[in-house]
């Protein structure tokens, strides 16, 4: 059990603490949190998974996007206590340490990132899209990503990256079927 800010926050009787249990990247985690703690901060500071970035604080930019029960959620405006009992996936959960998810490969192969700050959120939103629509059109990709802002790339290569990943995932699925 992790207690967030345990070492540094002086015990204060008027701050209530809530115990929550969630599944994070496939692993069950129990943690005591302040009710006002944001999910993004629990992930970053509590669980020390810094791939989830906070950008705008207002649900606009999507840098903090994680998947909650498979749905893209801006974790900067979701309270940690709201994740109690739910399944959360961050960029660190996309693939094992020595593996890459097709979406990660696609972003690298198509130069779909520059500074890298929006990338984890972009990839998780892309994963949710491809999970429900394995063969999207360019317009469908652009619409699905419209809640994730990028200031570097101009999006064209991000769209290509997602389409690249979709094709690869379909190929892999076909190969799996035949094998």
């Amino acid at each position: 059990m992790t207690s967030l800010y345990e070492e540094i926050t002086p015990t204060s009787s008027d701050i209530p603490i809530k115990r929550i249990t969630l599944t994070l990247n496939g692993e069950s985690r129990t943690v005591d949190v302040e009710p006002r703690l944001l999910l993004a901060h629990l992930i970053r500071q509590g669980f020390k998974l810094t791939g989830t970035h906070t950008g705008c604080d207002t649900t606009n930019c999507g840098a903090c996007t994680v998947l909650v029960d498979g749905t893209p959620v801006k974790s900067c405006t979701m309270l940690a206590v709201q994740a109690d009992g739910h399944d959360v996936m961050t960029v660190e959960g996309l693939a094992g340490p020595s593996e890459l998810h097709a979406i990660q490969e696609g972003f690298k192969d198509e130069h779909g990132l520059q500074c890298g700050f929006c990338t984890p959120g972009m990839m998780l939103t892309s994963k949710a899209l491809l999970d429900r629509n394995p063969d999207p059109t360019e317009d469908e990709v652009r619409w699905a990503l419209s809640g994730n802002l990028c200031r570097c790339t101009g999006y064209q290569n991000i769209v290509k990256a997602v389409l690249w990943a979709a094709a690869k995932l379909r190929d892999d699925a076909d190969g799996g079927g035949e094998g």
Binding site: I8, P10, D57, G116, W143, L149, R151, G154, Y155
Partner: protein, 792 residues
């Protein structure tokens, strides 16, 4: 067998990026990802009003909150002579306000606490009493006879004028205008905009009492300049200051200046002897840091009936906000604004400029551009289109007859710059061919008959990229050169460090490609480090598209020094005299006996294990590069649009970009830069601006109000290239990062204006919001976007 340069990731290879390996795994290391033992957190309290005297600040309730360690106010800083700091433009800026606040969002107090939530609680517990003062939000108000003096802190400041400046030949220009058949005039406002990288600014200051060393991890595009500023201004010993810029989540000029938050975090760490982290929230970033643009133009072109431009006359009024903190290194007051019209052969030009203080955040950062270049080129290309329309000439032909010709280089522009290379007409032709110019003109006429409004806009420009040379460019007296240090290990693998700092431009990938080109060492055998002032050689950082022109050149020069020493080692290994040694990529061989050779890797091993008598061991070198001139890339951007006259909404049909940035090191990365730049251009033309109401409230202090384009609105791009190598750069490269941002906006606006030509509309200020375009159509009038705006 000669190495295949593309296979080893050399010049021209679209090598996939090295840095992506960590970014796609969420393993980047941005400043907010860094956690130091015992680290405290800082939050800044900002002014809610734009201009007010501070009557009192009561911090007692903040001190009472458990977990609050320190509350700092301007008064406490003043006691240490730190309430004000110098800016990069020889002005002063309040660190924490003492006498009064001068813009909404100005830093008033800081709370340092055990965690960021408690620090925020502390800020909310501070009570500040303000006495409101009259607010100034544009140059006209600033110049009014009875205007409040914003900078009454400055002894000799009796008005709100920052500077008056002029450049060019007044008499010659007047004479040109007196000879003109037609004088074309246009006025406009280039709105205030914010570079707004997704990552905000932040720092972790860590002062270690035991060693007296100050380490600052921070979002800086120019860490060495920060070290110099801390050493020279705070008078801390330079060797005891270490600035580390880790991964940066986009910069675009926003992360060049020194901001109060950095300074306060440093002071807090020194006072508390603990690491202090400050991570700005998005509103703080948008309302207080590094604005760009906010400049007004009165422009005139003297024209001959045959289309020849005889003279240019420009006056600009720039709004610098409350503190003149332009981060620009030229000796010119309003940056490189007079680089306008550099691609045109014009006999006479004259420009006057005035800068004023207003009650807005300090502005004048170079947002993805070189110091007012974006404004210069926007004004230029809007003036050019208006002039072509006034003459009734085809806009492409008008440009063509005024271009500097390919055989006229080097060319001294009317404003005094020296351009050195380009194929302007060819770029325009490639663009016109790609867009299908003649067909579109027919399509436009056909569409008009059915009530549809189509438009085509062109923007062509050359811009000076890559400050310095050091004769004309410096920051606080430090000359604008850059550096590279290359260390080749004994197995031929290498470590390269430069004075630049990547923020997404891909230096970790492209610098290795330059080494591969110069030495034949595969790019994958070169690791690149930047951003740590304790290890990187002194350089001026990354902005203004200067990395490839300056630091990139230094990489090539460092590699050439390595090659020169390796040649001596090769002669030793081949038992020949150095004069008889020939070079091919990655290998020295004996003249006349090409089978007798040694690879660069064998030379590297010899440098550590078998050097000739008297030779210094090792194989490393550092090069400082001071470019003889700026580089002059050229861009031609052509946009077609359809405007809906019923709503004022306009859609982009096509975007064609033809860029000539000389030799392309990594074409994939170059194209990525161009597409990013085009998107910023589209954003500024279409939606992205920060304005103010009459009380100085910033309209655009969050991403709900400050509209940035998403993948859905952003158009697709068609890219083309022309290659004119830079004559003075070691590998012929020119800057590229900002070209499309600089040249692009006018193409979008010209396209919409072209569509509105029949309505007698001369100008609609950016962004071309539907209500502005609708007003222009229905009222057949120009539309100004200058603040203040009325918020309904």
């Amino acid at each position: 067998m000669v190495l295949d340069e593309i296979k080893i990731g050399g010049l021209g290879a679209s090598r996939l990026r090295v840095e992506d390996n960590r970014f796609i795994r969420g393993k980047g290391n941005y400043v907010d990802d860094i956690v130091l033992p015992g680290m405290l957190h800082m939050e800044i309290l900002r002014s809610p009003v734009a201009h007010a005297r501070i009557k009192s600040i009561d911090t007692s309730k903040a001190w009472d909150i458990p977990g609050v360690r320190l509350v700092l106010t301007g008064e406490m800083l003043a006691a240490r002579n730190l309430a004000w700091m110098p800016t990069l433009s020889y002005d002063t800026q309040a660190v924490l306000a003492t006498d009064k606040v001068r813009f909404q969002g100005q830093e008033v107090a800081a709370v340092i606490a055990d965690d960021p939530y408690i620090a925020k609680d502390g800020c909310e517990a501070i009570i500040v009493e303000y006495e409101p003062l009259p607010v100034i939000v544009n140059p006209e108000q600033a110049r009014a006879a009875d205007a409040a003096i914003i900078r009454d802190d400055k002894a000799n400041q009796t008005d709100n004028v920052v500077f008056n400046w002029e450049v060019g030949d007044k008499a010659g220009t007047d004479a040109a205008f007196s000879r003109a058949d037609v004088v074309s005039k246009i006025e406009m406002h280039y709105p205030r905009s914010h570079p707004s990288p997704i990552e905000t600014c932040g720092s972790i200051a860590d002062f270690d009492r035991a060693t007296s060393k100050l380490t600052v991890y921070m979002t800086s595009q120019a860490p060495h300049i920060i070290r110099a500023a801390v050493a020279l201004v705070a008078e801390l010993p330079e060797h005891m200051i270490r600035i580390v810029a880790p991964d940066i989540g986009g910069g675009f000029g926003n992360k060049v200046p020194v901001y109060p938050g950095y300074v306060v975090s440093i002071l807090a760490s020194i006072l508390l002897e603990k690491p202090v982290k400050w991570i700005e929230d998005k509103s703080g970033n948008l309302i207080s840091t590094g604005f760009a643009r906010d400049i007004y133009l009165k422009g005139e072109l003297a024209l001959r009936n045959d289309g020849k431009i005889l003279g240019v006359r420009m006056h600009t009024d720039s709004d610098h906000g409350a503190f003149f903190s332009d981060a620009q290194p030229s000796k010119f007051k309003i940056g490189l604004i007079h680089a306008a019209f550099s691609c045109y052969d014009i006999p006479a030009a004259y420009l006057t400029a005035q800068g004023v203080y207003t009650n807005k955040a300090p502005g004048g950062v170079a947002y993805r551009c070189s110091f007012r270049i974006t404004e210069a080129m926007f004004f230029q290309e809007r003036m050019v289109q208006a002039a072509a329309d006034d003459l009734g000439m085809d806009q492409a032909e008008f440009r063509r007859i005024n271009f500097v010709r390919d055989d006229d280089f080097p060319h001294r522009t009317a404003f005094g710059f020296l351009t050195d290379s380009g194929q302007y007409a060819k770029c325009l032709d490639v663009g016109l061919e790609a867009i299908g110019y003649q067909d579109f003109l027919k399509e436009k006429e056909e569409a008009k008959k059915r009530g549809r409004l189509l438009g085509l806009g062109i923007s062509t420009m050359t811009e000076p990229l890559g400050a310095g040379n050091s004769r004309e460019y410096d920051i606080l007296g430090i000359k604008m050169f850059d550096s590279a240090e290359l260390r080749v290990h004994m197995t031929g693998k290498a470590l390269l460090r430069t004075g630049a700092k990547t923020q997404g431009q891909g230096h970790e990938t492209t610098w290795g490609q330059i080494v591969a080109h110069e030495l034949g060492i595969p790019a994958e055998d070169v690791i690149v480090e930047e951003g740590d002032t304790d290890t990187a050689p002194f350089g001026m950082g990354t902005y203004a598209s200067r990395s490839t022109p300056v630091a990139g050149a230094a990489v090539a020069m460092a590699a050439r020094k390595i090659r020169a020493k390796a040649r001596k080692l090769a002669a030793h290994l081949l038992e020949a005299s150095e004069e008889d040694i020939e070079w091919e990529l990655g290998r020295f061989y004996l003249r006349g006996a090409p089978q007798r050779g040694v690879t660069i890797q064998e030379c590297a091993m010899a440098a550590y294990s078998n050097m000739p008598d008297g030779m210094e061991p090792g194989l490393e070198n550092v090069a400082y590069y001071d470019p003889p001139n700026l580089t002059w890339p050229f861009g031609c951007y052509i946009v077609t649009v359809e405007v809906d006259p019923q709503t004022g909404v306009w859609d982009v049909l096509r975007v064609v970009a033809v860029d000539d940035c000389g030799v392309r090191i990594n074409p994939m990365i170059v194209e990525g830069q161009i597409m990013g730049g085009l998107t910023e251009a589209y954003a500024m033309a279409n939606m992205q601006f920060i304005t103010f109401d009459e009380d100085g409230n910033c309209i655009g202090g969050n991403y709900t109000d400050y509209l940035l384009p998403s993948a859905w609105e952003t158009p697709g791009y068609e890219l083309h290239e022309v290659v004119t190598p830079c004559p003075h750069h070691p590998i012929g490269a020119k800057g590229i990062g900002e070209c499309a941002t600089v040249g692009g906006p006018a193409a979008f606006v010209n396209a919409v204006m072209d569509a509105l030509k029949d309505y007698g509309v001369r100008n609609v200020d950016m962004p071309l919001l539907p209500d502005r375009v609708y007003k222009a159509i229905t009222e057949r009038t120009d539309v100004s976007g200058a603040p203040p705006v009325r918020m309904e």
